[in-house]
Symmetry: C2
Subunit: 185 residues, 2 copies
Amino acid sequence: MSNSKSPKLPNTAYAVLGILSMGDGFSGYEIRKWAETLRFFYWSPAQSQIYAELRRLAKLGLATSEEIPQEGKPDKRVYQITDAGRETFRTWINNQPLEPIVMKHSLALRLFFGQEAEEGRLEELLIQFIAEIKEGLAQLYIVEEFMEHHPQFSHQSLVALWGQNFYKAELATAEEVLARLREKN
Amino acid sequence: MSNSKSPKLPNTAYAVLGILSMGDGFSGYEIRKWAETLRFFYWSPAQSQIYAELRRLAKLGLATSEEIPQEGKPDKRVYQITDAGRETFRTWINNQPLEPIVMKHSLALRLFFGQEAEEGRLEELLIQFIAEIKEGLAQLYIVEEFMEHHPQFSHQSLVALWGQNFYKAELATAEEVLARLREKN
DNA sequence: ATATGCATGTAATGGGTTACATGATTGT
DNA sequence: ACAATCATGTAACCCATTACATGCATAT
């Protein structure tokens, strides 16, 4: 079923493959929880999309899919990466060039067009943003702490550190911008 | 043609509306150039998408569209924001809640799954990334300098500052992570 | 000669979202 | 009682990308 040469897949598929490569057997539900951590640095697809990607990977022979009957819960479908899947993933990580960072910063967009905002609106948004960032930072600390206690996650904890630095920088910038806006009035 | 209540639009449409609100009359081509600056903090849609959004705005009565004959060049279609369009834009900026930051950081994704990478691959990617960030920073300095000489762009220059801080933080983090990877070997 | 800038548009494809549908178990 | 967790899936929709198509003027 698998193509001889690694097929070209959307990045979401590689992310799912990558998660599958970290253990032996995940349900869609478990993948989804990992994806929630990933959202700090990469993406956060809808649940339906994760299931769709898993089905695609299975169809391409990059993962096996097995139905596990369960009592008291709906049946679980467990996906496992195949040799072809691991090969595809390695080809991606070792050969696919970096893409430019994509950022959708909804506050920056509003700030950019701030001349159309009401008096005080931007300050309000910045204060709200600062609170959200602090919340995100707290979550990242928890993620990193967990990973530091599990040596097999050394790369993942490196990325948690990356996220922390990003959030700290966002915090500092938001405070700087807020101060500038206030001193203009 | 315009709805009595502001219609709900995709963010790309608001971004285009916002650019239209900054002057009186833009061609799709000019919008596109502004969008290229926006990409540092928000988004970078395909050319065809910008033209599609402009047509949508015109159909909704949020912008007027006028064909300007030109010699030696293809005709130009100039779009101008209407009162209804400005109203829609203000409603958006003043009432629409912030959305969470969306980030697609292709390097972080690879780093996260670094256990599958070949010896030296991550270092190679980091070095490449650092070069790209430096290039981006240089461009942002140019953008900010331009805007600081034009007082009507004070909000825009604030966002250019935001972008600089982001890029500087990325640079520092990339160097830190590179150092950590090297000391592990 | 060749590339870049100006200038707009269509067609095919697909990645991804939102909403809906179902249902038992466990914790508050 | 109610919310959260576990667990998967379908249907409708559309935003967005890629590729293609055209063509003159100007700079290298």
